[in-house]
Point group: C2
Chain length 312, copies 2
Amino acid sequence: MTANSPVIALHGGAGTILKSNMTPEKEADFHQALAACLEAGLLILREGGSALDAVTASVMALEDNPLFNAGRGAVFTTDAKHEMDAAVMKGDTRESGAISGICGPRHPVLAARAVMEQTEHVFLAGDGAKRFCENADLEMMEPEWFSTEQRLNALNAEMERRRLGVEDDGDPARKHGTVGAVALDQHGHLAAATSTGGMTAKTPGRVGDSPVIGAGTWADDKTAAISATGHGEFFIRWAVGHEIDARMRWAGQDLQKAATDVVTELGEIGGSGGLIAVDAKGNICLPFNSPGMYRAWCGTDGVIHTAIYKDS
Amino acid sequence: MTANSPVIALHGGAGTILKSNMTPEKEADFHQALAACLEAGLLILREGGSALDAVTASVMALEDNPLFNAGRGAVFTTDAKHEMDAAVMKGDTRESGAISGICGPRHPVLAARAVMEQTEHVFLAGDGAKRFCENADLEMMEPEWFSTEQRLNALNAEMERRRLGVEDDGDPARKHGTVGAVALDQHGHLAAATSTGGMTAKTPGRVGDSPVIGAGTWADDKTAAISATGHGEFFIRWAVGHEIDARMRWAGQDLQKAATDVVTELGEIGGSGGLIAVDAKGNICLPFNSPGMYRAWCGTDGVIHTAIYKDS
């Protein structure tokens, strides 16, 4: 394998994923889904495609799978609506596209990519973003398409919890649902993509870290491609993606140290979550400070791995 | 003067401010306005108030002045509406608040501060942000209050330019209208605030760098408080505020070198604009790569300065 063997990693969210809440069947479903979503991007890389196309394909597959909180299966706001965020970034030029608060495009990641490719802007939000999507030649879906019974139950449970004033149990589906992918292609370029439905029962209009370039999404060929998942407010305030980039550029740290330290430090201040990262040499780092993070990866050895818990 | 003498700086936007387009009367108006807006924050600092209160007061004064593109005097979108963005950040805790796409609060900077102080979120956008403002005990104004003839003329001229396909002349009022303030208080804390109407004839929904924590707004007591103004898309992709912070923390650079280099590098890739920055020692740096930047500052010597062009 050469240094330009393609590398890809993805996540399907981090959080308090407890083995006690899992069944063997459910675990198997997750492993199978993670592998299939990884393969969608890996196939593109192996055919010589771009990292951008690969991360887009993997995130599209994750968005279509209701197991994950993005696209179909997105969580609900307090209004019982969906407001989805997504971003993409290219490592060669730092071109970026991000979108927030939309419900319409089957694939929010394609909406973010359309912002990057079809406008002079980086970031669109709210009504203007919705209008842009309607005119951007994207496949559109009715709100019902994104809704699942599981997410509606989660909303109802959370609203009931708030009504009763019961202490927050930190349910992972509500707090840490995000998907993302990072890749290195045969041409030596990096890319990152992130997509999310946000937090169950979030305040309408809330923007998390996913569409904030430098926080939940980052890519630069000189350092790394990064996609984060976790308590978004902390990830914004700690500029997580760009912080890892900066430690590599300015402190000479390798990806492993930079990414691991940042996630550890986040955990110490209460910022639970994790991230996936790949550097220009094809190194992969998948740190998280929560009990689990749905993840899959394929390094320069060409072997596909999937994992959920810390010890796996 | 001790190291804890208060320090404050503000900007009213950067761009192609040409002496040939100015009259002595107009210049005098700007200098007077810049000094008055600075004094609003300086007074608070001299009375022992917080950097956060000081930057809030200076930005409120800038928002009320129709000379500047924020609050009253905000530019128009292609829909002939106002969509305002603002952010605040505290250097001691990195607490942050940001808001995008609103038209209602007389002072968008107070809406951003309300996000920080009244919610568990950092960033609200679109309809949800508007609804939040309506319930956040903010002074609200009708859209007409923000509108000025000058900005409507600028919109009409830009729409006509696009209709005729005439080449863009880089008119500064359209591209670089933002206001901001940074301060160091007697207690050794830093804060930053930024507010903007965006770009004349911007696409509705466009989010610039101002409300993106780490891009147009940043504050950390260990490094600096920063508020940027310029071509927002570049400032997001280069994570300008956090990049200066990172060079100070990880490369040991002083504020002067970090801030000046970042603005010079932005200019080299076409990212015109500038920023204001103050560090924890009270050093001030006000670099810009455009011909002018409306600015005012008061360092540890207690003297108020105002300037518009590069040579002043």
